[in-house]
Symmetry: C2
Subunit: 196 residues, 2 copies
C-alpha cells in the first residue's frame, strides 16, 4: 500500500509534468488521474480541486527557492556582495535544474492561482527578488558592481535564470553544474565595473 504522503507527491509530480507540457488551463483533473492510472473520483480523495494541486506545486517551489537562498546567504561571505550574488545565482540555478517542470510551473502558471493565493505568492516572489536587488545595491554601494538601476538589473538576471526552466534537459549538452558556473559568470560580469 502506498502511504498518503507518497501519493500526494506523485500527484504533484505528474501534474507538474502536465502543466509544464500543456499549461494549467489545458490540463483537467481527469488528465492528472489518467496519468496516475486512477479514477478521477479517487484523485479527489487527495486534493480538493485542480487549483489545490497548482497551489501545492507553486508553494513547494517557492519554499525550495527560499530555502536554497537562505542556505546560500548563510554560506556566502556576508561582507562581499559579489560572493553573495554568486551564491544566490548558483542556488537559483540548482533549484531549477533539480526540478525544471515544477520550476517552469512556478514561473509561468502561478497567475492561474485564486486571487488570495496569487497575492501571497506575489509577496513571496517580491521578497525573493529583493534579495537579489539588495545584494546588487550593496555591491554598487561598495563599488564592486556598477548598476545604475539595481531593480532592473535584478530583473534582468532573474529572468535569464528563470529561462533555464523552459529549455533545460537533464540529458542535454551541458550539465546543471556547467550551466550554473556559466550563469554565475555571466550574471556577475553583467554588473561588473569595466565595460570592454
Amino acid at each position: 500500500m502506498i502511504e498518503p504522503g507518497t501519493r500526494r507527491r506523485e500527484i504533484d509530480e505528474v501534474a507538474s509534468e502536465l502543466f509544464h507540457a500543456n499549461g494549467y488551463a489545458a490540463t483537467s483533473v481527469r488528465d492528472i488521474a489518467r496519468a496516475l492510472d486512477i479514477q478521477g473520483a479517487s484523485l479527489y480523495a487527495h486534493v480538493a480541486s485542480k487549483e489545490d494541486v497548482l497551489w501545492s506545486i507553486v508553494d513547494h517551489a517557492a519554499t525550495a527557492f527560499e530555502h536554497a537562498a537562505d542556505a546560500a546567504t548563510t554560506e556566502a561571505d556576508a561582507a562581499d556582495p559579489v560572493d553573495g550574488l554568486a551564491a544566490l545565482v548558483e542556488a537559483h540555478v540548482e533549484v531549477i535544474t533539480a526540478d525544471p517542470e515544477r520550476s517552469s510551473v512556478f514561473v509561468t502558471e502561478w497567475r492561474h492561482l485564486s486571487p488570495d493565493r496569487r497575492a501571497a505568492i506575489a509577496r513571496r516572489r517580491d521578497a525573493y527578488e529583493a534579495r537579489f536587488r539588495e545584494t546588487i545595491a550593496d555591491g554598487v554601494a561598495v563599488g564592486a558592481f556598477r548598476a545604475t538601476d539595481p531593480a532592473l538589473a535584478a530583473t534582468f538576471v532573474l529572468t535569464a535564470l528563470n529561462g533555464i526552466a523552459t529549455w533545460y534537459r537533464p540529458d542535454g549538452r551541458l550539465s546543471a553544474d556547467r550551466i550554473a558556473d556559466h550563469y554565475v559568470d555571466l550574471a556577475l560580469r553583467s554588473l561588473s565595473e569595466d565595460h570592454r
Copy 2:
C-alpha cells in the same frame, strides 16, 4: 464599413490580449468574438480556427523580430561585433515594448501551434537566435567578448530580453528607451573581457 484588413488586425490585437492574460488554451473563439462585440459565427468569416489566429499573431511577431534584426544589422558597423550585438539587443527590446502582448504570446504560446507550424517557427527562432550566437562568437574571435560558450551566452541574453514581455507596462516606471539602454549595457557587460 470596416475594411477586411482592419477587422483582421483587430482580431489579432484582441486575441493577443486574451492569450497573454489567460493563455491560449483557456481562451475560446467565443471569448475573442465577445471581446470584439460580434457573434462567434461572424468571427469565422475572418478566421478558420483559433489556431489560425495564434498562427497569425506568432507569424507577425516573428516577422517583426526578423525585420528589426535585419535593419539593426544593416545600420551597425559590420566589423564591430560589440556594435552589432548592441544593435540586435536594442532592436529586440524595441519590438517587445512596441507590442508586449503579441511578444508574450510569441514567447510563451507558440508551443500550442499545430506540429507543422510549430516546426516552421522553431526553425525561424533558431535562425534568429543564431544571429546573436554568431555575433557573440565573432566578438570572442576578435577579443572583444569573453564567452566560453557563445550559444549559452546567447540564450542567457535572449531569455533576459524576452522576460520584458512579461513585466513591461507602457505606463511603468521606466520608458521603453531607458529599458533598451540598460539592457544593452547589461548584455554587453555580461560578455565583457573584464570581471570586477
